[in-house]
Symmetry: C2
Subunit: 646 residues, 2 copies
């Protein structure tokens, strides 16, 4: 109440708008090309769809919510490497309501193949996919697959609907200019079209009438010719009456039976959006340059999908999750929590001597894999025997360089650190070259390693050595002081195979990069930009499916109490949104993928001009300067990506 | 970033929730009574609906949005006088998705009559209505009528849907206890049920097959008996095949043709909510005790509905709006703005000698009416002649005591004030007892009436007298200093027929009572509580339909630029939300009505115990103590209402 009670200085409120005939009325008048078509009942088959809906295009880093207002449509022009996914959003908002049944109207959205001038194609349904952006807690997040190449969408009055269009460029796709179309057509709504359908009671009546025709003539044997003729006459006249009855009447025009060619969804009243894609002559590496290891809670899978630990359905469920997540260029590990944040982590649920083990670990898309310290599924062996056998098999493999052990989540005191040391000792006894990863954000609280917390945190590698090779620290510790990364790196011994990785979880919070719901799109994507700038060589995220417990696949998704919304949840069970069992990605998972792809661009640039120049590029484009200074707009990302083409 | 960069004092983040097996997992586990029914595809006809949806009840002052979380269901127990409307909200949120097609599921909502023990009824569809609460700009606001007594609603994953249930108690309703039910049943979704329908192409094929049967036997004449038998055999076997074909196959069970009784929407799997209403022995007065005059822009009606000023469709459109708004116990006036905030206001579009004039002005529900200063529709008369004739007719009528002239909206300088004086002089020449109303929030800026703004504002009555009888001031001027109301009242001369009215428009803003979108429900309702406490005898609101210009009835609603959302818009064109032409009320309009009804309760209490005691009651219940101190909860309202029963 900036004005209340201040009567010495009554401020004149702006009158604009209070005057019904004043400047505020009609400021953004919607002018129809032919207003008479929009009076009364609007027939979408008689009006150009652009009269009925706004359509505009938004970059993949935009969060397009129901309240987003229309913008001018700008042609879609994308750039992608081979083995890269690039995405863009199409926003649609009704200008009028034409459905008359609670929704504003229905639109058909159709997508064509993208074709190059030399005849190469990116095929709809394979390389091209459309997903509907569905809000979660009111924030655009879930990407629910749409049927391809043609889908119907209900639009709601005063609400913007967004479609996420993704193009996956295959490895072997010839570089070049590709062009396709998105075609949007306002249609009659579903309720109206069901009037063309025959319901149960009409079918019932039809059945009775036809059955009656049959009963009149049958049995034929034993009837005199005259009686037969009479009965056939009766039956045929009944049948003729049936054929002229309402269930069939709309099949006729003046020229007889109408043509049953499928009515083409595309008409000259459709909105046609050109989609241009440049595939450039660079192939993103099959194996991501930065291992991004991401946890999948097996407990959550067991509870929600009702699969018993170790059963064949359980293996199947885990297999489905593993394969689906691999598409996002991340390296999944399954995990379950024990006491004191001890974790059992494993990338492959099968033991090392199972054929699936090699299949998983040899997959070129997998950059790193977790080996369990003890049996995942009880197998009669002691933990030690099991560990020994697993390690002895795996260390002979070529993929062993991807292996790591993740034993404890964020040790907090001497007892926790001792736990890590003991387990690491067991592992190193069987494989001195095994990599142990430890996540932490502080030293042991009951035995301070230094006089202040940050110094104590810095001393953890010295304290844990040689029982940890991958020192994985929280970005939250660094806060906005990027220079501290140098202090951390100074403690790492890469010459002895040590690495510095980072992670985000609850923190850091806004405005720093993280994957919480409600953060900006560039903020989600910048998680990986930050990694590149700080110089970490790997990344960990604690959970991609860690929503609240539920015991049915289609149960409502709830985030866990005490966590920022979206934390630990990067995708959803498909059953919540449709009858499909395929998981539903979040926008945030797509932006994680984009960030990982950005790293390949940085790396390419660095390979040509050096790492320092790549950091200079980040700064010069305004894309990323620090955890509190990164672009809110999409443009600098396109500029960065285009730079590599020069 | 409360923690960033402060490394002397790294705070341990709460670990709750980060641990997948820790306290955060499973804290609000959804336990199904029979979990096996919820695995895989859920059949809503086999599971109790309470397993599939949360249902709870919310008071009419709650803003129930899509993100609202379930609460325990408490029985609905309402109190209403006769000639009163009382409302309550039912919130529904899916626990699971069972539809498998983008929505979580469909529910049927059914409502029974309310019956008293002595057999009196409040009839569904007449006294009982259900409307769906639809968000506008993301805020629950529009109340879109639902079919009665049975309606279908689509629920969306992770979204709460609210139904606004209103009971209008007729004047003559016998007091007593009434009871009815709301019945909510999860059903198969529409897409699934259309599978039971026969589409165009199936009907086409069916038609061909039947036609073929006919062609085989016809013409009958001229066929030998043998040939006929052969052909009839062929036709009957075709017909038999048709009757066993998919279009009819679902009509059979093992026991032959299934019974075609309409499947009852209510099953023993339904959720049944008791709805109790006490109708008490008090009749709200037919004519509201507080005239609430509210502007309707005729310009907006003309543009949006495409009716030409003065045409028969125009009269019809205005008539529809007038009648609809009268139901809300407000006194509508139509208005159009002229230069310098001069306004032409009129409650009845027809001239005083037209039968409609008496019909409008004699309506007991109308508490006050605006008489236009000049012809609304050009009629050949000069403005003066017109005014003289109108006044001379109206002043002879019994309803003349309701008449007022509203000539200028918020005069700001001497020229404006002179304009009012001149017009008022003309009117008083013909009718010395005519009431002129003037809205204002300051004195003339170019000729200060006092040394400070508030003192100048206080002096306006002295300055305008005798050219204004109703001094209508902005609540914004008073701010949080209610005591200033006494200073204003001290300047008014009720003994000379003068009154003090108030208005809200852009201001006051939050936390003060007003009707902006996004304010609390009690904040909307408190607009009228404030009027009662301050002692004004009438209320004005500038616009109920003043949304942005559009030229088609179903065009998207946009609020005017420069105004707080919802300001000047209390209802919406029905065509935006459905095929109905009936306007769609906002929650805020319902709360305005509730506030006006509250005033009748205050008045009743004051008639028994005096006005001071009525103010004490407001304070004692915690309902309203001042523009910044009023209840956020509904309970005190029920307590106040119940007090009158003691």
């Amino acid at each position: 109440m900036e004005n209340s009670g201040n009567h010495q200085d009554v401020i004149v409120p702006p009158v604009e708008g209070v005057a019904g005939g004043g400047t505020a009325y009609g400021w953004s008048e919607t002018v129809a090309r032919d207003p008479t078509l929009l009076k009364g009942t609007i027939d979408p088959t008689k009006v150009h769809s652009s009269e009925l809906v706004h359509v505009w295009c938004m970059p993949s880093t935009a969060n397009v919510g129901p309240q987003d207002m229309p913008r001018a449509f700008e042609p879609i022009s994308l750039l992608a490497a081979r083995n890269e996914r690039e995405s863009v959003q199409i926003a649609i908002r009704p200008k009028f309501s034409w459905a008359g049944s609670g929704i504003a109207g229905t639109v058909q959205v159709q997508c064509t193949d993208l074709c190059s001038t030399s005849g190469d194609r990116l095929v709809v349904g394979e390389s091209l996919r459309m997903r509907r952006v569905v809000p979660v807690l009111g924030v655009p997040d879930a990407l629910v697959p749409l049927e391809m190449p043609l889908t119907q969408l209900n639009l709601f009055p005063g609400e913007t609907t967004a479609i996420w269009v993704s193009i996956d460029v295959p490895n072997a796709q010839p570089p070049g200019q590709y062009e396709g179309e998105l075609i949007i057509t306002a249609t009659r709504d579903v309720a109206e079209s069901t009037a063309q359908f025959l319901g149960k009671s009409e079918r019932h009546q039809l059945y009775r009438e036809l059955k009656n025709c049959l009963d009149v003539v049958e049995p034929i044997d034993g009837k005199s010719p005259d009686e037969l003729v009479e009965r056939v006459n009766s039956a045929t006249s009944s049948l003729r009456r049936v054929l002229l009855s309402p269930p069939f009447s709309d099949l006729f025009s003046d020229n007889g039976l109408v043509d049953m060619m499928d009515e083409d969804a595309i008409t000259n009243l459709s909105i046609r959006l050109k989609l241009n894609l440049t595939v450039w002559d660079f192939v993103l590496p099959a194996t991501p340059s930065l291992p991004a290891v991401i946890g999948i809670s097996d407990t959550v899978i067991e509870d929600r999908f009702g699969v018993e630990h170790g059963s064949s359905e359980w293996y199947e469920a885990l297999d489905q999750h593993f394969k689906w997540l691999l598409e996002y260029k991340i390296s999944p590990y399954f995990c379950r929590w024990g006491e004191n944040m001890r974790v059992l982590t494993y990338t492959c649920p099968w033991p090392a001597d199972h054929p699936k083990s090699d299949e998983y670990f040899s997959d070129p898309r997998l950059a790193a894999y977790a080996v369990p310290y003890s049996p995942v599924v009880s197998c009669g062996d002691t933990a030690k025997d099991y560990l020994q056998r697993e390690v002895e098999i795996l260390r002979t493999k070529n993929h062993w360089r991807k292996a790591y052990f993740y034993l404890w989540d964020e040790p907090l005191n001497i007892e926790h650190y001792e736990g890590i040391r003991n387990m690491a000792g067991d592992i190193h006894a069987y494989a001195p070259d095994a990599r142990i990863m430890t996540t932490y954000y502080c030293g042991p609280s009951d035995s301070p390693l230094a006089s202040n917390n940050f110094e104590a945190f810095l001393k953890v590698p010295e304290f844990l050595r040689p029982h940890t090779q991958i020192y994985c620290t929280s970005e939250w510790v660094i806060g906005n002081r990027e220079d501290l990364a140098k202090d951390i790196i100074a403690e790492i011994q890469p010459e002895n195979g040590e690495e510095w990785w980072t992670y985000v979880c609850m923190g850091p919070s806004d405005p720093h990069p993280n994957w919480h719901l409600g953060m900006r799109g560039t903020q989600h994507r910048a998680v990986m930009w930050r990694v590149w700038k700080e110089g970490g060589t790997g990344f960990l995220y604690w959970g991609a499916n860690c929503y609240e417990k539920a015991t049915a696949p289609s149960a409502e998704i709830r985030f866990r109490r005490g966590l920022p919304p979206g934390d630990g949840v990067l995708y959803y069970p498909g059953q919540v949104f449709s009858s499909s069992q395929e998981p539903v990605a979040s926008l945030r998972l797509e932006r994680l993928l984009s960030g990982l792809q950005d790293i390949e661009y940085f790396k390419l640039y660095a390979s040509r001009f050096g790492r320092d120049e790549s950091l200079h590029l980040l700064e010069k484009t305004g894309m990323y300067q620090g955890p509190e200074r990164y672009t809110h707009e999409h443009m600098p990302i396109d500029v960065m990506r285009g730079t590599n083409l020069d």
